[in-house]
Assembly symmetry: D2
């Protein structure tokens, strides 16, 4: 079991008039980390295959904030798969700055097909995808 790690720097547009990274921006970075994790095993969050489009609508997102991040701070996002269900995945992300946890969040997404002109339909995660993701599953 391994965490996926990526580094970012707080960009100026990420900040707000309180001088810190805006709380909504952590969700944008959690998604970037999720997509990088998927790319690291050859997957994309938006796949086209023989049966059409396969993607992952979010059903819930949450974040707890411990310390503010400021303009130009470098931070690491450490992502694990907390739960690999039959139809959904829960990613757990920690934001680390100078060795301390700045925030920790979760993102739960459901595996869906997108039939033309109808609402997305959840499906079991295809085995080829589940197999690739297993390396990031947290058994801690």
């Amino acid at each position: 079991m391994a965490a996926h790690r990526t580094r970012r720097r707080v960009e100026f547009r990420d900040t707000d008039a309180a001088g810190i990274m805006h709380f909504s921006t952590f969700f944008v970075y959690m998604e970037q980390a999720e997509h990088e994790l998927l790319r690291s095993v050859g997957l994309s969050v938006l796949e086209h295959d023989d049966e059409g489009i396969l993607s992952w609508p979010r059903v819930s997102a949450s974040c707890d904030y411990r310390r503010p991040l400021r303009f130009e701070d470098e931070f690491e996002i450490e992502t694990r798969i907390e739960r690999l269900g039959e139809k959904s995945i829960t990613f757990a992300c920690r934001f680390l700055h100078e060795g301390q946890e700045a925030a920790a969040g979760r993102l739960t997404a459901v595996c869906c097909r997108f039939p033309e002109g109808r609402p997305p339909q959840s499906i079991p995660i295809p085995p080829r995808i589940a197999d690739e993701l297993r390396r990031y599953v947290d058994n801690g």
Copy 2:
């Protein structure tokens, strides 16, 4: 007890390549609703008084998504104060579109002073503020 209500329209920049309002954008609108609620009782999220700056850093945020919102959809945000603690407030927001709940989220913020050159310090919510906010407290 009353909910605070405000209306918005999904703007083009709120959408993403999946054609729906991006999940992080719900947090931006929850904050807009919170600030409108504060203004409705004569408060601001950033106050300057005799003792300096008083503001409300976030300690947690979460959202559950039920139905997607699309470009130009009009929606209502219904905000209640779920918990008015000694030092913190939890706002609960529902996103309603055509009578159905599209999403529901929570935002918890802590009342803080910002001493020059030191980290924010949590303080008891001043009575004049707690009194104004009581009308939005959910006793349901």
Copy 3:
């Protein structure tokens, strides 16, 4: 000839660590004003008709900044059509705060069809659309 007018308030997410509305945000508001102008004459920036999708990719955008806008400032966006060409439109926007111009920008968009699997193709603006828009054309 009339300008289209709409009002907004600087939201917290619009600001940055310099305490003012971020310069990129003016473009987001210019687009909101453009879309409101289109709606005011019964049009949408993204139309589906018998021949498929009709939309307006941007070819250029610019803005000059004169005075900063701050959190909770109310401002007006005044939009005119500076040029209604055969295939393109140039919108001119002024941002007004307390009677003074905070910024002024331009947005040029081209009328396009989106053929399946091929790049967008510019077409002459359909007469029914040009007719509706003429009321906002600046002959000043």
Copy 4:
């Protein structure tokens, strides 16, 4: 004379319902490139020195769009200083994707002091800063 180069990938939040990177996002990336260029010569866009704060409010920004960028496209931003004036700098940025120009923009910023409680005041660019920046000045 050298251009500063940096690479980015189109993130999901950068896209809109038209499936492409939103036109306003190019300005956010132009600013990231500017800040990286400044860091590459040991400068920050927000400096604190003996005389207080030194920063660079924008006076104008513009961008011309030639080809759309899509989710997960990698692109390069090539930045030059087009004009190093007495009090202002104009950065010119090109967005390159697979060897072709996707967009080209300009950003003009003015060197300012921020006196307590008064509007920013433009000042001549300090020689130590102008000297560092000269290597990026385009004499082409």
